[in-house]
Symmetry: C2
Subunit: 127 residues, 2 copies
DNA sequence: TGATATCTACGAAGCGTCTCGTTGACAGTA
DNA sequence: TACTGTCAACGAGACGCTTCGTAGATATCA
């Protein structure tokens, strides 16, 4: 039953807050978001309601201030988003996406090392 | 003057056709798209008109059947899209995006090798 | 010339996203 | 009880995306 829709930009911003903070009230999410760009409380509320309908978040109504939680962990959503972009713009080729990512942004030496290890592991599997 | 907007899904599908075929008429783009999912000619036309307004494509009107061309090459658009995703879902960390991409889709041995070479080059630059 | 095919242009409609104002429920406090 | 603050719910409006129907211009051909 569970094909969750791709989150929109505004929804993703909310998910980032929920991943960082864990279960949060509308007020908490709103304060976090308003720190970067001021907005109105009810906008955040409305988005969380829509996200609940879509299944992107779950809601605990046992307290007066409802608690919202991201339904999928950050890693899973990231994989979904990357897979999506892969199909839409890279004809499914992960290799080319990686090339573009590494060319467009510098990665730290530690990250590069980690990627190298992942490559070793992947090539080992094929081996 | 040139901050082009991020192309939508339908727009990206059209851009893919233009990158593959080069300058094309509405009819050619539409036939290519309809192969995968049937649609109406004027839908493709309307999208190309909007994309012209946005600057995503340019139009050569010298012939009766106008010729549309992608304004940016595929590589550049791909870098823009990856950078966008990086900011929206990976807090700017290219390393983590690469990890997710490689974990979520198998890459060919040749691609892995190419990535390895890129890593060598990048680490060489850092010295 | 007149009929037909091929194009572009235009506008509207359905839908989703995002924002915001208003209302009403509920708790705490004087 | 009355006042105040906090919260969710609801609905409307603006905008963008996508689709499509229709109209009008232009070429082709009998």
């Amino acid at each position: 039953m569970d094909k969750l829709p791709r989150p929109t930009d505004a929804e993703l911003a909310i998910l980032r807050v929920l991943w960082r903070r864990g279960p949060s009230t509308v007020k908490q999410v709103h304060e976090e978001l308003s720190r970067r760009s001021p907005s109105v409380y009810t906008t955040t509320l409305k988005l969380l309601q829509i996200m609940t309908e879509k299944g992107l978040v779950t809601r605990d109504e046992s307290l007066r201030a409802h608690l919202y939680t991201a339904r999928l962990p950050e890693e899973e959503t990231q994989m979904q988003l990357v897979g999506d972009l892969l199909d839409r713009a890279f004809e499914g080729s992960a290799g080319r996406l990686v090339m573009r990512a590494l060319s467009s942004r510098p990665a730290s030496a530690a990250e590069l090392e980690e990627i190298r290890k992942l490559l070793d592991r992947l090539e080992g599997e094929k081996g």
